[in-house]
């Protein structure tokens, strides 16, 4: 019921008016009472809470004080400095690399912190703590221990670890070389030019110009010069004593060798000298060792099969031997 509803629209008498006012005052007092009670309760709550809040504040302050006293804040500040130093000495590329490896680091950490793994490490840690009490083990001890089932299992684990470590190492080094390689393929210098090798190239270039065997002997010129001479199937003069310098020239022409120069004739004579001394037709080796003709020069002046060509043109038998 509200004041307005109870109040008559038009008061009839003074008493009625006073009564109405009284009734309103009562209601106002009631409302004030309600307000006062609420205020009192609030004050009461604050009174009750204040000491608690104060205690909490003091405790917090004391806590900070303890942290300060025990040096934790210093530690945190030092850690910050370390981190800063790390950052200063780490290049952007390294940071990128780290960022790239974050996932694998996370995986590694997760794998390392699995309960089973942690249990194994714990066990291993206990053993390491008592490591100073362990007896030294020699080769026989090693053999004896290897028959123990647990040791065998441990060995299997170690071997597997080693295998993976090896594999990872190989992959890492492979990646490193790939990165380092870039465009450069090999540290080895591929070719080098050596002055002494130049004539040799020329010798190779001569090869194939004129076959040493050429047409069979005797040819037209040899027949014209000395028709009585006989030759082997390979085109070597059968009787070395019948040789003359003009015969050499004729044989050179018949076999397609061409002209015999003064130096070439010298070599033919040297070969005949060796033949006279040793009784054997000299091969390239003997021509160079005993005849004093450098191997390189032999190949230059008689490009195609120098041993046989010299022997043929010098009227000697076919040289024997591999060297």
């Amino acid at each position: 019921m509200t004041v307005h509803e109870n109040a008559p629209a038009t008061p009839a008498t003074t008493d009625e008016r006073l009564a109405a006012i009284e009734a309103r005052l009562d209601r106002i007092t009631g409302a004030l009472d309600v307000l006062t009670t609420a205020e009192a309760k609030r004050a009461e709550f604050i009174d009750e809470m204040w000491p608690i809040v104060c205690r909490a504040g003091i405790a917090a302050a004391q806590g900070l004080d303890t942290v300060e006293k025990e040096g934790w804040l210093d530690t945190a500040r030092a850690a910050g400095r370390i981190f800063q130093t790390l950052l200063n000495h780490t290049s952007n590329e390294e940071i990128d690399e780290l960022a790239d490896s974050v996932l694998s680091i996370k995986d590694a950490v997760r794998a390392m912190t699995q309960p089973e793994v942690v249990a194994i490490f714990e066990e291993a840690g206990e053993v390491l703590q008592d490591a100073d009490h362990l007896e030294p083990v020699g080769p026989t001890g090693l053999l004896r221990a290897s028959s123990d089932a647990d040791v065998q299992r441990g060995l299997a684990v170690l071997l597997e670890l080693l295998r993976h470590a090896g594999k990872a190492t190989r992959e890492v080094s492979h990646r490193k070389t790939e990165r380092a390689r870039g465009t450069r393929r090999s540290p080895v210098v591929r070719t080098r030019s050596v002055a002494v090798n130049v004539p040799q190239v020329q010798a190779v270039a001569h090869v194939g110009v004129a076959p040493a065997s050429g047409p069979p002997l005797p040819g037209a010129q040899v027949t014209a010069l000395a028709p009585e001479l006989t030759f082997t199937g390979d085109g070597f003069l059968t009787d070395a004593d019948k040789w003359t310098e003009p015969l050499a020239t004729a044989m050179a022409a018949d076999t397609g060798f061409g002209n015999v120069s003064a130096r070439q004739m010298e070599i033919l004579l040297a070969a005949r000298k060796v033949y006279g001394e040793t009784g054997a037709s000299p091969n390239i080796r003997r021509l160079s060792v005993r005849g004093g003709v450098p191997v390189r020069e032999l190949y230059q002046l008689f490009p195609q099969a120098p041993g046989k060509t010299v022997a043929r043109l010098a009227g000697l038998p076919k040289p024997a031997g591999c060297v």
């Binding site: 090999s186 540290p187 080895v188 210098v189 591929r190 070719t191 080098r192 050596v194 002494v196 090798n197 040799q200 010798a203 190779v204 090869v207 194939g208 076959p211 040493a212 065997s213 050429g214 047409p215 069979p216 002997l217 005797p218 030759f231 199937g233 390979d234 085109g235 091969n283 390239i284 080796r285 003997r286 160079s288 060792v289 450098p294 191997v295 390189r296 190949y299 490009p303 195609q304 099969a305 120098p306 041993g307 046989k308 031997g321 591999c322 060297v323």
Partner: protein, 164 residues
């Protein structure tokens, strides 16, 4: 008189041979060197590719110390139980070197000089050099170039390839 044909050039031109030497025993080095020399003496283009332990044959520090081993050699006149004893290698090596000398076969160093003078090209394997940490300067001066296997095939197009 029949035509003298000590060698028959192929219709396309020059006959060629390429030898691969991968081992460094005297009994493995000499065949390669002798075959190369004989090829050049017969007017055949020749080259030798030294790879793996064959590199010892053209390595300055090792060329004079090559030896022959009786171990694992079925042709060895020595019982195998004895072949591995200390000193056996040097006995066999001395024996073989003496025999070669009697036959006037030059030693390996001279042999390499000779085939090089004869125009035989001498190649070293790049991979094997990297593997054994060898540089061009560690090799004999007669070595023409350092090749990869692929380069070797390019250099020896048309050649008969023989693995000694």
């Amino acid at each position: 008189m029949s035509a003298a044909q000590p060698h028959v050039p192929s219709p396309t031109g020059q006959r060629r041979i390429a030898l691969i030497c991968a081992k460094a025993g005297l009994d493995e080095a000499y065949p390669a060197l002798i075959l190369a020399n004989a090829a050049r003496a017969s007017g055949i283009d020749a080259s030798i590719f030294f790879t793996f332990y064959g590199l010892d044959v053209i390595t300055e520090k090792k060329v004079d110390n090559l030896h022959v081993s009786m171990v694992g050699n079925p042709g060895s006149p020595m019982p195998h139980a004895l072949a591995g004893l200390p000193g056996m290698d040097s006995v066999a090596t001395t024996f073989m070197k003496k025999k070669m000398e009697e036959l006037e076969v030059p030693n390996v160093r001279e042999m390499i000089q000779m085939i090089s003078d004869a125009g035989c090209r001498i190649f070293a394997c790049e991979l094997a050099m990297n593997m054994m940490d060898l540089k061009l300067g560690d090799l004999l001066p007669q070595v023409d170039s350092v090749l990869t296997a692929e380069d070797f095939y390019k250099e020896t197009v048309g050649a008969d390839i023989v693995f000694v």
